[in-house]
Amino acid sequence: MRDAVTLRGASLAFSTPQGRLEVVREVDLSVGVGEFLCIVGPTGCGKSTLLNLVAGLLIPSVGSVLIDETPVSGIHPAVGYLFQADALLPWRDALGNVAAGLVFRGMPRKEAEAEALVWLQRVGLAGAARRFPHQLSGGMKKRVALAQVLAVNPRILLMDEPFSALDVQTRAQMENELLRLWAQDRKSVIFITHDLEEAIALGDRVVVMSAGPASRPIGSHVIDLPRPREVEEIRMTPRFLELQRQIWEQLRHEVHAGQARTSAWTE
């Protein structure tokens, strides 16, 4: 299988008032074309940092990032990014936000808005096209953000805990929607989450990160669950539970290590 994204020995350090903080160290990771990769790890271990490296928002201090097996430094047009925090343009309505990427990439406004409307329909928000972000609920905002990033049709999709702030029902619904949309054209996906269940339910593979600082992937688990999946149902299957137990064994250790370190800092 060809790789869509490769990290080769990538490290990243921030300089902070307390000194150099190496967040991720010598990360080797690859995502195959069309693969849905989930990354789990304790809070604060460097998952967002890793994603920012792939997105080109951060440049590794050591090592390299390859997109389509070519080294890159900076933003790559084939990469789409669904941020953890609110990232919609507050002064544009839902339609304007979804059209934004198309307009940036040179599509005439009318055409872009027509296309944006189709995307809003796909995420079930055609009725909210003229609402501004502050008039949308958290789940609706996430849907608009999803439509926004999918509208520019990135081959590689980065998602940073996109559904972590949503209530359980909305979340399951959006997970199913995401799987449905993904099945249509099989983009290469890196999906970050701190929720192991979500990772197993969605991914082809789950990578576990070690507790920070100097975090790195410490395990890679192939998820051999059949597709198409319904997230609520797949959770009940024996194979799911078996995978969950197996990965949790490894993750638990890191979560405890992470907590020990965090409480050592705050004391």
Binding site: F83, P90, A100, F132
Partner: protein, 263 residues
């Protein structure tokens, strides 16, 4: 207990009537000397005479023209300077003490200098108004640029925005939204600049009318001038509120935070 504004206005009107009546009585009986306090009926007579003879219109026109020019130029310069310094932190750091100094200075004292540079016509008033409007807009825009969310910015870049597109689709709306939230102050400042400028030396304008009346101790005409200015200010403010409502639909709360901070 709470009475809506709908039911409050008759009382507000009644209060105005009572104040006018009290003023009238006190000055008619000379308990308050009418030489210093004027008389409402005489003020009314002056106002009527100004408007029926048409004497007031050229003066009002000049004052409003000065206000408009000062507002437009001051706002534009403030936006440009704010965006420039907001996007070049090094220049901003270099200029910071100077900007602070100029902002701390009571800028009305510049009026005589402007009068010398630009004469007694419209130019010197507009210049004064610009210096008053500029800083409010400038600081708001600078703040707006600095507070653009890094995530929104990163998102726009990932979606494919070039530097020019970031400027147009992210920085510009962020900056101008802050300008709109300070529109009330800016218009008020432009108006103050015009009137104070006229008052300190001019041949036309409502400020000039007041100055002239004061020269001959015509207190009623002075008050009439103040009334005209107040009504104008209220009308301008109402106009701004309407413009603001249309332009800031995307905002969660009606923007009036920067409303009362200066003037």
């Amino acid at each position: 207990m709470s009475t809506g504004t709908g039911r409050l206005w008759p009382w507000q009107l009644a209060l105005l009537g009572a104040l006018l009546f009290g003023w009238h009585e006190l000055t008619a009986s000379e308990i308050l000397p009418s030489f210093f306090f004027g008389r409402p009926l005489l003020v009314w007579a002056v106002l009527r005479q100004w408007f029926t003879s048409g004497l007031i219109y050229p003066h009002l026109g000049v004052t409003l023209l000065e206000t408009l020019l000062a507002f437009a130029c001051g706002t534009l310069l403030g936006i440009l300077a704010g965006m420039w310094l907001g996007l070049s932190p090094r220049v901003a750091a270099l200029l910071e003490p100077y900007i602070k100094a100029v902002n701390a200075m009571p800028r009305v004292v510049l009026a005589p200098i402007f009068a010398m540079w630009f004469g007694l016509g419209v130019g010197s008033k507009v210049a004064l108004g610009i210096t008053l409007v500029f800083f409010g807009v400038f600081f708001n825009v600078l703040q707006g640029i600095r507070e653009v969310s890094p995530v929104v910015l990163a998102n726009a870049r990932l979606l494919g925005a070039s530097s020019a597109q970031l400027l147009r689709h992210v920085y510009w709306p962020a900056a101008t939204s802050w300008v709109f939230s300070s529109l009330h102050t800016s218009v008020g400042m432009a108006f103050v600049g015009a009137v104070v400028g006229e008052y300190l030396g001019s041949a036309r304008g409502v400020g000039y009318l007041i100055l002239q009346a004061e020269g001959v101790f015509d207190i009623n005409a002075v008050i009439a001038g103040i009334v005209v200015l107040t009504v104008c200010a209220l009308l301008l403010d109402a106009l701004v509120t309407r413009v603001e409502r249309r332009l800031l639909v995307w905002r969660p709360a009606p923007a009036s935070a920067a409303h009362a901070d200066s003037r």
